[in-house]
Symmetry: C2
DNA sequence: ATGAAAGCGCTAACAC
DNA sequence: GTGTTAGCGCTTTCAT
């Protein structure tokens, strides 16, 4: 089943069928209707590959993420797809699994499929990727990497602002001994967040205590492990900030496991605001990274460049603080022992 | 940059380049190596669309799911992709968003992209889809719909077995007044689970009380709303079974909100075993649907048909019960009032 | 073992 | 407004 058969049945040329499908040139309503009928009747679906080959445009955008299993991403993917569909484009998603090798595969896939643009939303750093794509005239947008060019844009999330809000909030509740559980330092996002924590503390005149900064893995397990260590300290912190929500959720688990309560004994703050942060016990106070906005920006940035010929630029996205119930007045008891 | 340029540079014909890339015919090691070098040097990536068009095979499988935002799916997607990649195939994922219209779009997309097979893992029912695809010789695999044919397979999850285990477990803890919060009845999976609950209760000699069966939406909000209603009853249940984990998590939220405790006042059981069920407070006892097994089966079923020419068949997948801490001995007080 | 050339299904000039 | 036809970049006979 192909366009030629449709053309024959409708007694027109393949060009006309193509015109009706794409609306690329005026066709008399009469024949147009006849063609549509025929398409319908024959259950004809134009072959995308032939279309791409013929036109040179794939109408497809690539979205590279780290791991679809990380709750941060699904919503991002969904929003990106939704807005792409609104613009008549499709999306192919690829996971790097946090691995460099897989990143190469992802890139190859994008190149082979001739995407019209690529959003690289992984937090691993790959600045040189910009060249690979822009060299081929493919627009690209990064998250938190800072490289912009003729066809490459960059989205900067203001983690600093969000973390400042969190520290302020904790300070106002009387916390001074605040721990930070970071993500893996290979991740740009983890670095940025850690740095923001450090300078935020200093800005607030609070002590940045190196031993209160542990490294997690941006997953629950790392948060749990790090928190367990923090709880074993002689002078433990009264509040903990996790580099992401999963980390914070793991920390809450460890706190409960130790027989302590959140927030009465220890306050916990996360970062990201994934949906399930609403459903932890207690619900998690967290720094919200607006993923929908992020996705929208990423797509529109790409689309603007590939369609309008706009040039790449930097976009800023603000973070906010979502107050829920995992933070409270600083506990007097910062040394181990029964709570309160 | 195309295969012709590579051919010229390597002083061979395009056919030879193609042979080297695909290993479809013997090429002398000497020229093969020269071609590889050239490909490397020129950074040549073969155009997938041209490849598909020329060969008639896309090396791509489609995966249709309801909503990537539903935690049940990401892991499924990941496993499916991983095993596909192992077999040298790629995957395109499409979301229906639980909407019939979007399902049409998904199907169209698959058809237009000439996928070699489609896994339809949504729980909405679309039996006629089998025809659309098998009519075109495209293998297909369904989840819980029961239609099998020459090129269409079916995966049946034994929810019944899992739910029986859950009911048994609750019965052994002294529960007799067990509520069920179902999913939307348009979903096959919701129907199957509901039915399994009903017959499971009867099999155990427990009363199936219609008013204790409410309808949720397979998301937290529905679980919360339904649970709130259950809590307002004169004689409220001592245990609740949710049609999925999200529902159960929402229910737990409502119970806490009412100042009651899980499991001391009410026991809660979920279904699916999404990762975050480990991190609710208390951790959720749930019926585990092995998604990795499901994904593997789905892919291998498809692959077997499209490659080996095997015929479609039915596969069964067992569910199990994961005991965590949201279930406990039945509370004496089944009427409202202070707990215990 | 290698090359020449005919498609694959569509789009886009270019005619009329 | 509509038809003709030359590509698009690759695969795959069919020769040699």
């Amino acid at each position: 089943m192909n366009i030629l058969q449709v053309a024959k049945q409708a007694r027109v040329s393949t060009a006309t069928v193509s015109r009706v499908i794409n609306g690329t040139a005026p066709v008399s309503e009469k024949t147009a209707e006849r063609v549509r009928q025929t398409i319908q009747r024959l259950n004809f679906y134009p072959n995308t590959h032939a279309r791409t080959l013929g036109s040179g445009k794939s109408r497809m955008y690539g979205l590279i993420i780290s791991d679809i299993t990380n709750p941060f991403f699904p919503e991002l993917v969904k929003n990106f797809e939704d807005i792409a569909v609104e613009h008549g484009q499709e999306v192919i998603v690829a996971n790097t699994n946090y691995q460099l090798k897989r990143m190469e595969m992802c890139v190859r896939r994008m190149l082979e499929r001739k995407v019209d643009g690529v959003a690289i939303m992984t937090s691993e750093m790959e600045p040189h990727l910009a060249d690979v794509f822009s060299h081929r005239g493919i627009p690209i947008v990064f998250l938190d990497t800072g490289a912009i060019g003729a066809r490459s844009s960059n989205i900067e999330v203001d983690y600093g602002g969000g973390i400042d809000l969190a520290i302020e909030h904790l300070a106002s509740l009387g916390h001074t001994r605040i721990a930070f559980i970071s993500g893996p330092m290979e991740l740009k996002s983890a670095q940025v967040r850690h740095h923001a924590f450090r300078s935020g503390m200093q800005r607030k005149g609070l002590p940045y205590v190196a031993e209160l900064v542990l490294t997690g893995d941006h997953r629950t397990e790392g948060g749990r492990a790090a928190m367990t260590k923090l709880l074993q300290m002689k002078r433990r912190p009264t509040a903990v900030l996790g580099s992401n929500d999963l980390t914070a959720i793991g920390a809450i688990g460890a706190i409960h496991q130790a027989g302590l309560r959140v927030p009465q004994d220890i306050s916990v703050v996360g970062c990201d605001d994934i949906e399930l942060s609403n459903f932890t016990q207690p619900p998690l106070t967290t720094i919200r990274i607006p993923r929908n906005e992020l996705a929208t920006r990423a797509f529109t940035a790409l689309f603007a460049v590939s369609q309008g010929g706009e040039t790449g630029r930097t976009y800023r996205i603000d973070a906010s603080l979502v107050l829920r119930e995992s933070t409270g007045v600083a506990s007097r008891k910062s040394t181990p022992g029964k709570a309160e």
